[in-house]
């Protein structure tokens, strides 16, 4: 905090950068220290939840300087655009009500204990008034999330979990207030506040899970380049933001830059990484005349591109719209707790009404009948039911997370439990999604050749070079000492080894993915690459079938590549599917009464991931794939699929048991309430113990994964 600020007389300006690559303490320290080392930066503070860093700096420092400083320490970053500002947290609005409910429940409970143990007359009167003074404002504040949600449901003539909660809480508070004013014997402030506290705790747990999930659309738009260098008619180069690009402009895209708009190449030959759009990792050659899309990464050489579509007209924006539409369909899903409330609420309310009428008919006064009816409402208020779902889901999510499977929210577990069909993308989902050098081709190389290849490959960021370097490093090889190493765009890497020219380059004959290792005087070695199937792919698919989930392939790749994988896995497949074809295929299955699980990784899978009933993406997926999916698994093993489905089904079973426990407990207490024997003490004990029972049952899920 006390970093030396070199320039103090001028006001600092503040910039927020989005740094998607941060995910641990080490990254945070690197980013903060890297920025604070710049003389003109006063403070840098990372927010890891939002993957952002807030920088206070001297106004002279421009945003590109900060981006370059982060680039130098290995983090890609972008200024946060205002229209895509941070999504509001779901937890934060619940924290204050939770704290108020906790404070009030504790203090009122303290007062209630002395009333239960026999406080009489003036003391009871004083304690009731104190409870009312704390309880009424606290109930109004802490109950607001429930009242608001119940009201919005009722206004649309629907009912949800919050309707019986709100009615119970409001009636009980009103009755307690009446008792307090008239100097009565019983007040229920402790019960209502405890109920609100437990329910808010459950809801906060649920919101914490949901907060980790960020909508796919803002990540998607963040992938588009913020702007481009535009060649003006006067021959000048000028930087224009993506919003100001228009069809007809000529943009110059350097190697390593992403395209900011759709267009056609005018001059320059290069290789493009279209994995963001197609999910296929192999670089694609591009020549003048060819159409290119926003979001594509230019790998090799600078190109000039004539813009044909910009902003909302690009194919990237089209996919964003498809995803948004698909996500809306899913939000129509009704959570299991709300489905339970549809049955529970009418039952409880008619029971309370029946006891009121019953006692009136038996000749009790209106006052006594009301007290009993409200006691019935309080004793049946779904306190444990409010915890039944979130606690089970949080415990299961924790277990899955330890197994390397990240579940984004509780409703994902509910939806995952019901799937009976799986559609799996090929590249990156069934396969590893990265090129792996052929073991046979590496085996024929001599030890010296491997050293040279490793040294050359380590100088390039080309995907094939990186794959080759990784494979050789894992194989325990050491790089040879090279001099004068240069990466030549569109060609490869060349250098000098013991005075002899050596090169790792593009092979002359194009065909499959390969690189050529050329050491002068030695024969040229061709190293082929393939995208291998995940190691336990077939076993995982067999387990899915055993769980009653039938799988098939849904890929955007060509028919030949899909047929090859289909043969190896024994699945049927659909090839050359566009993002819209994929969502159509899902809708067809859904209309046929199936619940569909989508497994995919690329941007082109984004709409399908959002449209399916549940979706899983590998951790290596594109940002969009990871954001759109409900579940993300780490590591290479596809066994995460059956494991997640099994865990989801086990969770659903425990949730059902929890409902049975909570309702069963109420069934025991309801006769007491109907007969008018329930005191606030009994209500408090029943509420607390049924909650503990439900939590204990949920903890059994700790080893579910």
């Amino acid at each position: 905090m006390n970093a030396v600020v070199p320039i103090v007389d001028e006001p600092l300006s503040e910039t927020v950068l989005v740094v998607p690559g941060m995910h641990c303490a080490g990254c945070m320290a690197k980013v903060e220290r890297g920025l604070e080392q710049m003389p003109a930066v006063a403070r840098a503070r990372v927010n890891l939840t939002a993957r952002q860093v807030r920088v206070a700096h001297h106004p002279d420092v421009s945003v590109p300087d900060l981006v370059a400083a982060l680039e130098a320490i290995g983090f890609a970053s972008q200024p946060r655009s205002e229209e895509l500002g941070a999504r509001p947290s779901a937890v934060k609005p619940l924290l204050a009500p939770l704290a108020v409910a906790g404070f009030a429940a504790m203090n009122v409970m303290l007062l209630s204990v002395s009333i239960w143990s026999g406080a009489e007359g003036g003391t009871r009167w004083l304690f009731h008034w104190l409870s009312a003074l704390i309880g009424v404002p606290a109930t109004a504040y802490a109950g607001w999330p429930f009242f608001a949600s119940a009201w919005s449901a009722l206004r649309r003539l629907r009912t949800n979990m919050d309707v019986p909660i709100s009615i119970g809480v409001l009636l009980a508070t009103a009755l307690s207030l009446y008792e307090t004013v008239t100097g009565g014997h019983t007040a229920w402030f402790d019960g209502t506040l405890m109920l609100l506290f437990f329910l808010l705790a459950g809801r906060t747990l649920d919101a914490m899970m949901r907060d980790r999930a960020r909508a796919g659309v803002d990540a998607l738009l963040r992938q588009a380049a913020p702007g481009a260098m535009v060649l003006t008619p006067g021959g000048k180069l000028e930087w224009l933001g993506a919003a100001s690009l228009a069809p007809g402009m000529l943009m110059r895209v350097a190697a390593g830059e992403r395209l900011a708009a759709d267009g056609a190449i005018v001059s320059g030959r290069t290789a493009l990484d279209q994995s963001l759009l197609t999910g296929e990792s192999a670089p694609v050659r591009a020549e003048p005349g060819q159409a290119v899309h926003a979001g594509t990464l230019n790998l090799d050489a600078p190109i000039d591109v004539r813009v044909t579509a910009a902003g909302a007209d690009t194919s990237l924006a089209e996919i964003a719209r498809l995803m948004e539409a698909a996500g809306q369909a899913r939000s129509a899903y009704v959570r299991i707790a709300d489905r339970a409330a549809r049955l529970y609420a009418p039952a409880v309310h008619s029971l309370a009404l029946a006891s009121f009428i019953g006692w009136m008919l038996m000749g009790a006064g209106a006052y006594q009948s009301t007290v009993i009816a409200i006691a019935v409402l309080i004793i049946t208020c779904p306190c444990a039911i409010g915890l039944a779902v979130p606690v089970a889901q949080v415990v299961a999510c924790g277990a899955l997370m330890r197994a390397g499977i990240m579940v984004k929210d509780g409703s994902a577990l509910e939806r995952l439990a019901g799937v009976d069909r799986a559609l799996i993308d090929k590249t990156g989902s069934l396969t590893l999604g990265r090129p792996v050098p052929d073991a046979a081709a590496l085996a024929v190389l001599s030890e010296r050749e491997r050293g040279i290849a490793l040294a050359l490959a380590s100088h390039s960021r080309h995907p094939l070079s990186r794959a080759l370097a990784d494979a050789l490093i894992v194989g325990g090889h050491f790089p040879a000492a090279l001099e004068d190493v240069r990466e030549v765009p569109g060609y490869g890497v060349r250098g000098l080894w013991q005075g002899m020219p050596v090169a790792l380059r593009r092979p002359e004959v194009a065909g499959r993915m390969a690189v050529a290792l050329h050491v002068t005087d030695w024969p040229v070695r061709l190293i082929g690459f393939t995208d291998a199937l995940r190691p336990d792919c077939c076993e995982a698919l067999a387990q899915l079938t055993a769980l009653g989930v039938q799988s098939s392939i849904l890929s955007g790749d060509n028919a030949g590549a899909v047929a090859e994988v289909a043969r190896l896995t024994g699945l049927t497949g659909q090839a050359s599917a566009s993002p819209r074809d994929k969502t159509d295929a899902i809708h067809r299955l859904q209309n046929g009464g199936h619940f569909v699980l989508m497994v995919g990784d690329g941007l082109n899978d984004g709409p399908a991931l959002a449209a399916a009933d549940a979706s899983i993406a590998p951790g290596t997926a594109s940002d969009v794939g990871r954001q759109a999916a409900d579940v993300v698994f780490l590591g290479d093993s596809l066994s995460a699929l059956p494991r997640a489905v099994r865990a989801a089904r086990a969770t659903l079973q425990v949730v059902r048991q929890n409902f049975a426990l909570a309702v069963g407990y109420n069934v025991l207490a309801v006769p007491l309430a109907v007969l008018g024997h329930v005191t606030p003490l009994i209500a408090a004990v029943a509420m607390a113990s049924s909650s503990i029972l439900v939590i204990a049952n949920s903890l059994r899920l700790a080893r579910v994964a």
Binding site: A25, N47, T49, V91, F103, M106, L130
Partner: protein, 51 residues
């Protein structure tokens, strides 16, 4: 009875103090980045940095 008259206000006052502190922390942004706060304890301070 007289002890109650002092103890109850004290208890309520202390409770309100902690509630107020919580609200102050909430408004000050201390709950904005729970994930980051959990990770921050793992950052080693370099010698001589931020004394």
């Amino acid at each position: 009875m007289t002890s109650l008259a002092t103890l109850i206000p004290i208890a309520l006052f202390l409770g309100l103090c902690s509630l107020g502190t919580f609200f102050w922390a909430l408004r000050g942004g201390q709950f904005d980045d729970l994930e980051g706060a959990a990770n921050r304890i793992l950052i080693d301070e370099e010698p001589g940095e931020r004394p």
